[in-house]
Every structure is written in structure tokens, then in C-alpha cells.
């Protein structure tokens, strides 16, 4: 464990990129937790006199067509955007890793059924499938979460299937088996915990992609309804003003989105270095 901490220190100090990513991650979490309490304006308060103002000292990111403060809306939106992505990733992590572990551990029919499910999901262009799912289940935020979870499921199932399969015949597993552990107990107590590190890497690499997907769905008008502040829908609302030069409406929330995705991607790369130093690219 001290070895691990040393390595963590090394990663954070030697690799400034990961350090920056870690800092940005903390800022995102802070914005998500305390955003509504620290923003200068009410994100929903409109002002008929101060519409479409460019960025200024009063309104750092300008105001939108209803006179709402873009900066406040972006900060407040962090919570919703992260919540959607995190819930989706948690669902696909739990479901995917359980399905994948069962497939990898028992092989045979379990493997074939899980394999067929993941293959079928992967047979679709994933964003298109997410659109179809939201359309069928109904146009709500929860369904965006479910759709994002479903399209990410195969990644987790595949990783955990491989990891469990590799460890199924490892020495420590055989030892545990000889000690009289039942199959499921063996899987749950001895094998599954060991597959978590590679899965965590998958989680952080996947988080950015989940945010992008969810924002993409709300950009095309699914899930989140106005006037709720959310990055995807803010970009969509601001898009029409780009051609008349009011760039701040769409570009700031788009940049927020980009920074969030970028943070998670960098963090994922750093985490991969931390967990598996050999797989550095």
C-alpha cells in the first residue's frame, strides 16, 4: 500500500497534467455541490432590460435572450450534468460488471447470453440507440440516464468478463476453492474485488463519454426541459444566436462541457498510469 501511495505521489508530482486534471475535478465537484449557493445571480431570474448583453464585469459570461446570467446558469448546471453522467455510469458499472463477471466465471450459456446482449447493443451506433431508447421510454431525464447506462453497459461487461476469466484459475482462487468456498462466494469475495482496479479506469474513461452522450441527447431536445439550466440545452438554445454574433450564449456552456469531458479523460489516463504503469501510451 505504501508502494501505491508512493506511486500516487509520483503520478501527481511528476505528471503535471494529471495534477491539473485533479484540480479541475475538485472544482467541478465543488461547483456541483455548492454551485447554487455561490453563484452571483438566480439562474432562472430573467430581466427584460438586460437581454443578450455581452460578457462584462456584472455578467462574466453575458446574459441570454431572457436576461438570465449565463455564468450562474453554467455553474448551477454542473450538478445536473454530473448527476446524469454519474448515475448512468454507476448503473452500467454495477449491471455490466455483474453480468460480465457471471459470464466470465461460469462460461457456457451464461457467457453466450451475456455475449449476445452486449453484441446486440454494440450492433447499433450507440448514440442512435440512446435516441431510440429515450424516444420509446419517454422524454424524461431519468430515461436519458437509463439510455446512457444501456449504451455503456457492453464496455463494463467486456472488461469484467476478461478480468474474471483471467483470474478464474489463478492460484489464490484455487487456494480459496480448496478451502471450501462455494462458487458464488468465491466470485463475490475473491475474484470480483480484484477486477475493480481495471474497471475503475474504465469508469473514469467512460465518464467523459457519458457526459458527452447525455449532453448530446439534451442538445437535440430530449430529457431536460427549459428553463432548467443544463449545458447541452443551453448550447442548443444559444445555437440560434451564433449566426447573429451572440456567441457567449452557446460557446460558454459548450466550453464548460468540453472542460468537464477533458478533465475526466485526463483523469482516466492518469488513473490508468497509476493502476497499470506498463500500459502507458
Amino acid at each position: 500500500m505504501t508502494e501505491f501511495l508512493k506511486h500516487l505521489k509520483y503520478i501527481l508530482t511528476e505528471n503535471s497534467v494529471t495534477l491539473i486534471a485533479g484540480t479541475m475535478f475538485l472544482l467541478l465537484i465543488l461547483a456541483a455541490l455548492f454551485g447554487p449557493y455561490i453563484v452571483p445571480y438566480d439562474p432562472l431570474a430573467s430581466s427584460a432590460t438586460r437581454t443578450l448583453e455581452p460578457p462584462s464585469w456584472d455578467h462574466w459570461f453575458g446574459t441570454d435572450q431572457l436576461g438570465r446570467d449565463v455564468f450562474s446558469r453554467i455553474i448551477v448546471a454542473t450538478r445536473l450534468d454530473l448527476a446524469i453522467a454519474i448515475s448512468a455510469v454507476v448503473i452500467s458499472f454495477v449491471l455490466g460488471s455483474v453480468l460480465g463477471s457471471l459470464a466470465g466465471f461460469f462460461g457456457g450459456w451464461a457467457d453466450r447470453i451475456v455475449g449476445r446482449i452486449t453484441d446486440t447493443i454494440m450492433a447499433f451506433p450507440l448514440f442512435v440507440l440512446a435516441m431510440g431508447i429515450v424516444a420509446a421510454l419517454g422524454n424524461t431525464v431519468e430515461n436519458i440516464v437509463y439510455a446512457t447506462a444501456i449504451i455503456n453497459l457492453p464496455f463494463y461487461a467486456r472488461v469484467s468478463r476478461t478480468e474474471v476469466n483471467v483470474r478464474r484459475s489463478a492460484d489464490f482462487v484455487l487456494a480459496a476453492r480448496l478451502a471450501g468456498n462455494s462458487s458464488l462466494r468465491l466470485l463475490a469475495m475473491h475474484i470480483y474485488p480484484n477486477t475493480l482496479p481495471p474497471l475503475m479506469v474504465q469508469v473514469s474513461l467512460n465518464m467523459g463519454w457519458a457526459i458527452l452522450n447525455a449532453a448530446g441527447l439534451s442538445f437535440i431536445g430530449l430529457g431536460v426541459r427549459p428553463p432548467t439550466p443544463e449545458w447541452g440545452i443551453m448550447v442548443a438554445e444559444g445555437a440560434g444566436f451564433i449566426v447573429s454574433g451572440e456567441w457567449w450564449l452557446a460557446l460558454f456552456p459548450g466550453a464548460a462541457l468540453m472542460i468537464a469531458v477533458f478533465t475526466f479523460n485526463l483523469l482516466g489516463d492518469g488513473l490508468r498510469d497509476l493502476i497499470d504503469p506498463r500500459r502507458r501510451t
Binding site: A123, F124, P125, A135, L137, V243, L251, G254
Partner: protein, 342 residues
């Protein structure tokens, strides 16, 4: 050497696509029947009474068993019947076919742009590790996957249309002053060329450029990453050392020996790239008001035109399966080892 074996393997690949297609049909069927509540109540509208709901239920076949419903659904698909779009009143198949060329033209140009940038970039990065071009490649790869495609598109519009004024307004395939070229392929650029109308070609190409670049930037990252990784791996392999020790020209070593080998993993990545492309296509079409099947699907989604949305999902999935199938077949033809070691 193109023998019986390869032919058998290609047939095998074609057969392997069948379970995928069956899976897709089952999923789209489930999606059409997963509407919250009673679809018949939904389709009947708020003013309907019990009798008209029952009529609609019968007309939609919802009173039959699931298996029967699936059979009807599947046989409708075989005859190309995807239902009628509520919003336009036209058969969904016709709507899709009419709009498909616009989407394909955009996607293909984006793919060409993406390959034209990613392959040289990845090769250059791999041949000069840690040089400025390698760093550039790293930045492109990390930034590319983090850029929301609609955000890139809007930046493009802002810069090229609003600020610099070099791009036409982001409104569709052709500016209103031009007539669409006589349809042959329904790819405006190609049709304009076939017609010998360079002015229309230029106009169509100008409309196409920004959305295609936007879409291409998004898919550039995985391609450049894979090209770099595959080239690095191949360049460090034994046979490259042999080729260099034999005095072969640098270009021969790099392209005939290294790149042809690196191309195989790149080809595999293309499958994932197509998944990204077909998905992001929808977003790009919305940003540029591109009249393809993505825009059609978005319009349909907003007015809850389910038949149209499900038809779109199905069409995209089939297209994706066909693209993957093409990749598999090309792989089988290119790699002499396929099938002989397995």
C-alpha cells in the same frame, strides 16, 4: 491466391451478420412496443373514447399476442413497410430514402477528411516520437475526444461564417439561389460534376465543408491514436529491422512494409469510428440544418412521431452492420493470415 477459402470466409462473414440483424430487429420491435402506457391510448389522442381506442388497438395489431405482433412487424420490414410518418403523412421508408443521400454525402466526406488528416499525422508522430508533431498528435487525440461535436460545429459557424464570412450560412445543402443538380447519385457535389456545373459544385461543396470538417474532427482522434500506436508497434517489429538491414528505401520501409501492416488494426478501429460518426451525424445535421435522416429523426422525436424514429434507428443500425461487414470483408481480403491460423 484469391481462392475458395477466402470466398468461403466471406460467405461466413455474411452469415455472421444475420444474428446481428435479428438482434437489431428484436430491439427495435421491443422499442416500438415499450411506449409508456398503452400505445393505443397514445395514438388515439386525448379526445378518444373507449371504442375508438379499441379500434386503434386492433388496427395497430396490439390485441394480438407478442409473437404474432413480432411476426407482423418482421414481415412488414421484409416488404419495406416501416409505417407512416405521422408528421409528414408519408411512408417512413420513402422519407428515409429521400434524405439518406444527404447524410451519406456528409458522412463520406467527413470520413475522407478524417482519414486524410489522421493517417499522415499518426504516421508522422510514430516515426518521430517525442518531436513536435508527436506532441501535436497527442494534443489532437486528447482534445478531439473531449470536444462535443455540436460545440465544434458552432465554433466553426461563428468563425467561418459570422467573423470571417468565408462560409455560406449554415442552412442546408445548397444556398437558395442555386438549383439542385439533376439527380443521379443524389450526392449534390457528384451530381453537379456529372452535370458539368462547376458553380453548383462549388456551392454544394462550400455548404458541405464545415459540417464535414466538424464531423471529421470528432472521429480524427481515435483514428490518429490508433495509427500512431499501430505504426509504433509495427516499426519496432523484427521484420522492419530486416527491411532496413536489406537497404530498402525509407519510403518502401514506411509504406509498403510498415503501413500495410499497421493498416489492419486501423481497419478494425474504423468500426468504432463509424459508430461515432453515425451518432454524431445527428448532432451535426442539427447544427447545420442539414436535411439528412438525422434532422428528420430529431423533428420526429420532438413531435413524438414514433414510427419515424424507430425507422431511423433501424436504418442507422442496418447501415452500421453493412459498414462493419464491409470492413470485415476488406480485412479478409487484405490479411493473408485470416482463417488459416484459426
Amino acid at each position: 491466391m484469391f481462392g475458395n477459402e477466402k470466398f468461403k470466409m466471406i460467405v461466413g462473414r455474411l452469415l455472421q451478420a444475420i444474428p446481428s440483424i435479428i438482434g437489431i430487429i428484436i430491439v427495435t420491435f421491443v422499442l416500438t412496443r415499450a411506449l409508456p402506457g398503452d400505445p393505443a391510448v397514445y395514438f388515439a389522442g386525448p379526445a378518444a373514447d373507449e371504442k375508438s381506442i379499441q379500434e386503434i388497438r386492433v388496427s395497430l395489431g396490439l390485441d394480438k399476442s407478442w409473437l404474432e405482433q413480432f411476426w407482423i412487424y418482421a414481415s412488414d420490414l421484409v416488404t419495406g413497410n416501416l409505417g407512416v410518418s405521422v408528421s409528414t403523412g408519408q411512408p417512413v421508408v420513402e422519407e428515409l430514402i429521400r434524405r439518406l443521400p444527404a447524410s451519406l454525402e456528409l458522412t463520406f466526406l467527413a470520413l475522407i477528411f478524417s482519414l486524410a488528416v489522421a493517417l499522415p499525422l499518426g504516421i508522422a508522430a510514430a516515426t518521430r516520437p517525442n518531436s513536435w508533431i508527436d506532441q501535436l498528435c497527442r494534443i489532437v487525440v486528447t482534445a478531439g475526444v473531449s470536444l462535443p461535436v455540436f460545440f465544434t460545429g458552432l465554433i466553426m459557424v461563428y468563425l467561418f461564417y459570422y467573423i470571417w464570412g468565408v462560409a455560406p450560412p449554415p442552412l442546408g445543402r445548397l444556398e437558395i439561389i442555386y438549383l439542385s443538380p439533376p439527380p443521379v447519385t443524389n450526392f449534390y457535389t457528384i451530381d453537379a460534376l456529372l452535370d458539368g456545373d462547376l458553380e453548383t459544385f462549388g456551392a454544394a461543396f462550400a455548404q458541405l465543408a464545415l459540417p464535414a470538417i466538424t464531423l471529421g474532427i470528432f472521429t480524427l482522434a481515435p483514428l490518429a491514436r490508433m495509427t500512431r500506436a499501430a505504426m509504433l508497434q509495427v516499426l519496432s517489429s523484427d521484420f522492419i529491422r530486416t527491411a532496413r538491414a536489406s537497404g530498402l528505401k525509407r519510403s518502401t520501409v514506411l509504406y509498403t512494409y510498415a503501413f500495410r501492416n499497421a493498416f489492419l488494426p486501423i481497419l478494425t478501429t474504423l468500426g468504432m469510428v463509424f459508430s461515432f460518426m453515425l451518432g454524431s451525424n445527428v448532432l451535426v445535421e442539427k447544427v447545420f440544418a442539414w436535411p439528412g435522416i438525422g434532422s428528420f429523426a430529431i423533428e420526429a422525436l420532438i413531435v413524438s412521431d414514433y414510427a419515424a424514429v424507430q425507422g431511423f434507428v433501424l436504418a442507422m443500425a442496418i447501415l452500421y452492420v453493412l459498414l462493419n461487414l464491409t470492413i470485415d470483408i476488406v480485412y479478409t481480403l487484405v490479411d493473408p493470415r485470416v482463417g488459416l491460423d484459426g
